[in-house]
């Protein structure tokens, strides 16, 4: 079975503190036997726990450069956020050339796929308007799509119903490679250079069970040192060659940071939100129909957008300033080289044939009668717990412990206050028993006792 998520725990490093359980937006983490455990079916791979863990015990299961070996021809797909990892004097052609040099046969900018998706979204907007699917919600961030499937299934129909820029670019890259080489499709390996684990899960377990064109996903942090090394000994001729290639325009490049996707749309009525907890607040507003005049929501799970991804290297604020420079350079390039700028090709867009399903991980029981019973019980237990939400039981708050208890995953005495109560009552029973015991055994020691009194 496909791996449901990519965020992993390093047991040796985990000390069982409560930092991650408190930050997880889907309450997917529990500390059991002193170690954090992630509930597979609930994790949306937002990477909040990776960012917050002071002991660096959370990491992502990603592919490495070894994954290239089985393929005869390999293609790297550069996420727009990759550029922002490198400051001056690096330029986009230089970063792309350096990426190629670490061991790929070709490189593609995912910014190209982003342009296609932007175009598709513009075309789709009138249809969304007439079928009351507004506001449209971007489906580019897999963590956002998954949080919708799990917590806001009523908003699934509002998602932009196309595969992400990564998939579109992979499709393009494979088509081109097949046309250019005599290779079979399975001899071509396509690898996305990613800012996050969510994108890896989008490949190992694609949203809506779609077929993926991507063969592996490497962390930006994994290839960063190699790219840096290649940048330092860059061959000027190669850079010139890359400068003459077709490059993505500023719209596509802009997707790397929060606000970039919305910028390319032909509507002013958009809202941009970043950070998974903020995204959840906005989803709540949409469900309550409080955002009636908004037509498009750009939502990114990471603060700052993909440049804030958990597997990036550069500080998000300096990455943002670099991103602006790359966008400016793209604008200049566009103005000077009209013919070398990618023109989005509509027929590579990959529309969803069906919408993703709701994820029932939060449902208490598939049978509503049992679910009602469990809910009732859960409320009662919550009422009896101290309400301190201390996390010492290993659940993020008292209500979550109550839920675990009705699901049969925990017991009331996991709450240290309840445990204390139990110990106290057991202690009281013990001393009562001791008293009883003494009363029965005393006659035997009777004489001695007598002596004292």
């Amino acid at each position: 079975m496909a791996k449901l998520h990519s965020v992993r725990l390093n047991e040796d490093k985990c000390v069982g503190c409560t930092n991650c359980i408190k930050k997880c937006p889907t309450e997917a983490i529990r500390v059991r036997d002193g170690k954090a455990r992630i509930a597979e079916e609930r994790c949306i791979d937002c990477g909040e726990c990776i960012k917050v863990c002071p002991h660096h015990a959370k990491s992502a299961e990603m592919d490495t450069l070894d994954a290239l070996k089985p393929y005869r021809y390999t293609i790297a797909l550069a996420a727009p956020s990759l550029y922002a990892q490198f400051g001056t004097p690096a330029t986009r052609p230089m970063v792309l050339a350096a990426l190629l040099n670490i061991g790929f046969d070709d490189v593609y900018e995912v910014a190209i796929g982003a342009e296609v998706v932007t175009k598709g979204t513009c075309d789709y907007l009138p249809l969304a308007r007439s079928s009351s699917r507004l506001p449209l919600i971007s489906s580019a961030c897999p963590a956002v799509v998954r949080v919708i499937q799990e917590k806001y299934p009523g908003l699934i129909d509002n998602l932009v119903p196309f595969d992400s820029p990564m998939e579109v670019t992979a499709e393009l890259a494979r088509r081109d490679a097949l046309a250019r080489t005599n290779l079979k499709p399975q001899e071509i390996g396509i690898f996305f250079i990613s800012p996050c684990p969510a994108k890896r899960t989008a490949v190992t377990n694609p949203i809506g069970n779609r077929l993926t064109q991507v063969d592996g996903v490497l962390a930006i942090a994994e290839v960063y040192p190699q790219i840096l090394a290649k940048l330092e000994k860059m061959n000027p001729d190669q850079v010139v060659e890359f400068e003459q290639r077709i490059l993505a325009d500023a719209t596509g490049v802009g997707w790397g940071a929060s606000g970039g996707e919305a910028m390319g749309l032909q509507t002013e009525k958009y809202l941009v939100v970043d950070g998974i907890h903020n995204v959840i607040d906005i989803l709540e507003e949409i469900e309550n129909e409080r955002l009636r005049d908004i037509e498009f929501i750009e939502a990114n799970s990471c603060m700052g957008g993909c440049i804030g991804g958990p597997l990036t290297v550069a500080n998000r604020f300096s990455a943002k300033s670099r991103m602006n420079r790359y966008i400016q350079e793209a604008l200049v390039f566009e103005a000077e080289h009209q013919d070398s700028v990618y023109k989005p090709d509509r027929d590579v867009i990959r529309p969803w044939t069906e919408m993703p399903q709701a994820n029932n991980a939060l449902t208490l029981d598939p049978d509503i009668f049992k679910a009602l019973e469990k809910y009732e019980q859960m409320e009662k237990i919550t009422h009896h717990l101290p309400g301190l939400d201390c996390g010492a039981c290993g659940a993020p708050d008292c209500a979550a412990l109550a839920e675990d208890i009705v699901r049969g995953l925990a017991v009331e005495s996991d709450c240290i206050f309840k445990l204390k109560e139990r110990i106290r009552s057991v202690a009281a029973q013990m001393s009562e028993l001791e008293f009883e015991m003494n009363r029965h055994t005393k006659p035997a020691e009777g004489e001695q006792e007598h002596g004292h009194t």
Partner: protein, 142 residues
């Protein structure tokens, strides 16, 4: 017949910041129970409108929610001024919302019509000077 799950909430008047807590709590509960997303959405929107009306027009009140296996009954009860002409209030665009509420984006006169649209049954009991109770039924299967 199995007892319904009962939820209760206090709705505080003129508290725009926390307004919506009752309906969002109810929505969470319905999701937990595995109710279909479409039905949850209808119940949540209808309840939210009634809840906001209690906040804006009646200085708060209470919400009672009864969840059965195939439907939910939501009652929003207030001790506010009451509605003088219910059929007028039910008309799209009719509103007496104060300026402050309008500034917050309320007052389009769409709340009650929206409740009607999203519920399977809706009734309003109201008495001038005593208060209003809006009862909403949403069935889970269509």
């Amino acid at each position: 017949m199995i007892e319904p799950v009962k939820l209760e909430y206090k709705i505080r008047g003129s508290d725009f910041i926390n307004a919506g807590e009752a309906s969002s709590g109810t929505k969470k509960a319905l999701n937990r129970l595995g109710v279909s997303p479409a039905a949850v959405k209808r119940a949540a929107i209808a309840m939210y409108e009634a809840e906001i009306n209690a906040v804006i027009h009646a200085d708060g009140g209470e919400a009672e929610v009864f969840i059965y296996s195939d439907h939910v009954i939501i009652r929003i009860i207030d001790q506010g001024p009451g509605i003088p002409d219910v059929s007028l209030a039910m008309q799209e665009g009719w509103s007496t919302a104060p300026d402050i509420a309008r500034e917050m984006g309320f007052g389009a006169g769409m709340g009650l019509p929206n409740i009607k649209k999203h519920s399977d049954d809706m009734s309003i009991e109201t008495e001038i000077g005593k208060g209003t109770t809006v009862t909403i039924t949403v069935r889970f299967q269509v």
